[in-house]
């Protein structure tokens, strides 16, 4: 049986995540602390990928190349259930309200099913429950209706905000090695990045501005065509 996943359809409009303030090692004012802790309250239950897997490092070009779908959206539901055909396979079915599709068919909602290999993941619904806004690079959907982020935690980015509302993207490896050799690969295909993208690509790790990050993704998708 081929499952209709990811199922794309019209969904509700969504609101962006609550504000996240940058961590300040000096104890901040009460005014600054309140939204900071409020957001941390929201983030506390979140977990973002499966445990017990070892993945090879993937740079941004590899993520873009390997993904069938790249989108940013808000997790609206996540539930664990056995695979409908293969009952020993536990899976998590995730629905997101889509903010932006960078690769793949446009949609306002997306639902996908991901295999979970460790039963201990079940209490946190594979890490998607209350995960907030995510930028996902999703593998091609298998004939059995299964997909997952490319390179797992490397292809799943949390969207963070600072006090000024600026948004940043950070994956489960702290973006370590995300931009290694990307510029060389791109230039070999005749692609020249803007100055902000070049500056971002020079970073060895750490969160990056979302708008610049999405610009780089957009350029790499175009260059890959």
């Amino acid at each position: 049986m081929r499952l209709p996943i990811p199922s794309l359809g019209r969904g509700p409009s969504i609101e962006s995540n609550k504000e996240l303030l940058d961590f300040n090692p000096k104890f901040p004012s009460a005014r600054a602390v309140i939204p900071f802790f409020a957001l941390l309250l929201l983030l506390c239950p979140a977990a973002y990928s499966q445990s017990g897997a070892n993945t090879a490092p993937a740079d941004l070009d590899t993520l873009v190349h390997g993904a069938q779908t790249i989108l940013r959206g808000q997790v609206t539901s996540a539930k664990v259930e056995p695979h409908p055909q293969f009952s020993n396979l536990q899976t998590v079915v995730v629905t997101l309200a889509v903010n932006r599709v960078l690769k793949g068919e446009p949609a306002s909602t997306i639902t996908f099913r991901q295999y979970l290999w460790d039963a201990r993941e079940l209490p946190v619904l594979g890490g998607y429950k209350a995960a907030g806004e995510l930028l996902l690079f999703l593998n091609p959907v298998s004939p059995y209706g299964l997909t997952s982020p490319v390179a797992l935690e490397q292809g799943r980015f949390r969207i963070l905000r600072d006090a000024k509302g600026n948004r940043y993207a950070l994956n489960g490896r702290g973006n370590l090695g995300l931009f290694s050799h990307v510029e060389n690969k791109a230039s070999s295909r005749g692609l020249i990045f803007s100055k902000p993208v070049k500056e971002m690509l020079a970073k060895p790790n750490g969160q990056v501005p979302l708008d610049v990050f999405e610009e780089a993704i957009h350029e790499l998708i175009g260059a890959a065509k």
Binding site: F27, A30, V33, I34, F37, L40, L41, C44, P45, A46, A47, Y48, S49, Q50, S51, G52, A53, N54, T55, A56, P57, A58, T62, G66, F86, S87, N88, L89, R113, Y115, W117, D118, A119, R120, P123, V124, G127, N139, P140, S142, G145, L146, S148, V150, A151, L152, E153, G155, R156, L170, N171, G172, R173, G174, N175, L176, G177, S180, P204, N205
Partner: protein, 465 residues
């Protein structure tokens, strides 16, 4: 304000992830005879594992690159990395090919149907399979990335006894097929890199969680040639693989932290004559409230007479509150009433840490778990990790909330010795709720300076009205 801050800390406790400590992968919960104990295998007998009957790796054209017998030998060799630690009693035994209902007669698990059958055997607790995905096709059928080198999972636990009953390891043989062609999503690793990745998974199979040591290597963006002293101390159970292989740098495949923790979880009779223990609590600035989720590292003091830096090379860590649950549950929202089935509910363990170390002189320090280590990279019981003010501190004998966090005293540990109450009091942490908070009660200000209070000693309460 105090209420909001207290709510933050409380909610992190309530909603935090499952137990996944820097030492053990998970610990027993309320349903266990002894809550808060690491889940371990019953090592009175060797852990019996079965192995896929197919080749470990085939080329894109279907040529066998690594045969089944070579694959079995490699698996045995990699399990041996853990078994050969002299201070652990863990042993493994090859129990033949995977066999049972739904498994092909040759034991070759190639399709998702075969894999489903193998999982059934594992979930039933009858086999612990090691599966070869010779060409990556099984991963793709599962919707997983060809960048996954391998994974491991626990299939069945005995929650009461605290035993791992069965588990699996999955190897992506495509990484060893001799082809490195990213345009077809076929990636390659050196044999040493592949072996280290699978040894890491076998550590999880054996009951080990992730460890965070020499984080500066990761933070500084090294991706390849890491300095050897720091690489030597970097655990194979570090959440992310990013340096050159340990073997290529002339190092043993296991770091001191890996050796210490497999020995602690499954101790051999020689463990007590080789290891001592450093233990204590981590407190917020009030000196009584425990801090869960801080990484605590014992580092051997550098010996200036050697060219190596022992403080980088010999280090063992654990996360405070590793025996306490990361998710006690709450009955307010209706979807997390019981919380996690893992971890003790004894509040005396919230800030407790315990580190096994060989004889020597050590400094002990605390730090935050890196904020990017979430989900599959998580370290310790809280996922995502809590970011704690004042987390970076060395221990010294006059710990207080107002000390110099860089001041450190060395501790000398002998084999068999247990150094306890090596307690930290963090600086500048925000005020907290007390357990009797009702809106009309406040804590008296702590005496200044204050030192190492008994954690069971409550502060006097002052009623405001």
């Amino acid at each position: 304000m105090k209420r909001r801050l207290g709510a933050f800390f409380l909610s992190c406790l309530l909603f935090g992830g499952f137990a996944d400590a820097g030492g053990p992968l998970r610990v027993t919960g309320a349903g266990a005879t002894n809550a808060g104990q690491p889940f371990v295998w019953d090592v009175s007998n060797p852990i019996r594992y079965t192995v896929d009957g197919g080749p470990l790796s085939v080329s894109p054209s279907g040529q066998i690159v690594s045969s089944n017998s070579q694959g079995v030998a490699r698996v045995q060799s990699l399990f041996q990395n853990w078994q050969s630690v002299p201070t652990t009693s863990i042993t493994y035994s090859y129990a033949g090919q995977i066999s049972g209902a739904g498994i092909p007669s040759n034991g070759d698990v190639k399709t998702i149907q075969d894999f489903n059958a193998a999982l059934g055997l594992c979930n039933g607790g009858t086999q612990s399979p090691v599966i070869f995905d010779a060409d990556g096709s099984l991963l793709r059928a599962l919707g997983l990335s060809p960048l996954i080198i391998g994974f491991s999972g626990t299939c069945k636990l005995d929650y009461q006894a605290g035993h791992i009953v069965s588990a699996l390891v999955f190897l992506n043989g495509e990484f060893q097929d001799g082809v490195n062609d990213p345009t077809t999503s076929n990636y390659e690793l050196t044999a040493d890199q592949f072996d280290e990745a699978i040894t890491h998974e076998m550590g999880h199979f054996s009951g080990l969680g992730h460890s965070q040591i020499n984080l500066d290597l990761f933070k500084s963006g090294f991706a390849g040639n890491c300095p050897v002293d720091e690489l030597a101390g970097l655990p194979i159970m570090f959440p992310v693989e990013f340096c050159q292989s340990r073997k290529s740098a002339g190092l043993p495949i296991l770091a001191p932290d890996d050796v210490a923790w497999i020995s602690k979880l499954c101790p051999h009779a020689t463990f007590a004559s080789n290891y001592g223990t450093i233990s204590g609590f981590v407190f917020f600035s009030d000196g009584i409230t425990h801090v869960q989720g801080l990484n605590v590292i014992a580092r051997q003091v550098d010996d200036p007479s050697t060219p190596q830096d022992e403080s980088k090379r010999v280090a063992v860590s654990v996360v405070s509150g590793f025996e306490f649950t990361g998710n006690p549950g709450q009955a307010i929202t209706g979807d997390n009433t019981g919380g996690s089935q893992y971890g003790s509910r004894n509040p005396a363990l919230i800030g407790y840490y315990e580190i096994p170390v060989t004889s020597g002189t050590y400094t002990v320090q605390t730090e935050n778990v890196d904020s990017s280590f979430v989900g599959g990279s998580s370290v310790g019981p809280l996922d995502p990790p809590a970011i704690t003010y004042g987390a970076y501190e060395y221990w010294h004998q006059y710990e207080s909330a107002f000390d110099n966090p860089a001041q450190k005293d060395a501790l000398t540990v002998q084999a068999g010795q247990k150094l306890s109450n090596i307690n930290f009091i963090l600086n500048q942490t925000p005020p907290r709720f007390d357990q009797f908070e009702d809106g009309e009660v406040r804590l008296e200000s702590p005496p200044t300076p204050f030192l190492l209070r008994d954690p069971r000693e409550l502060w006097p309460l002052v009623r405001l009205s």
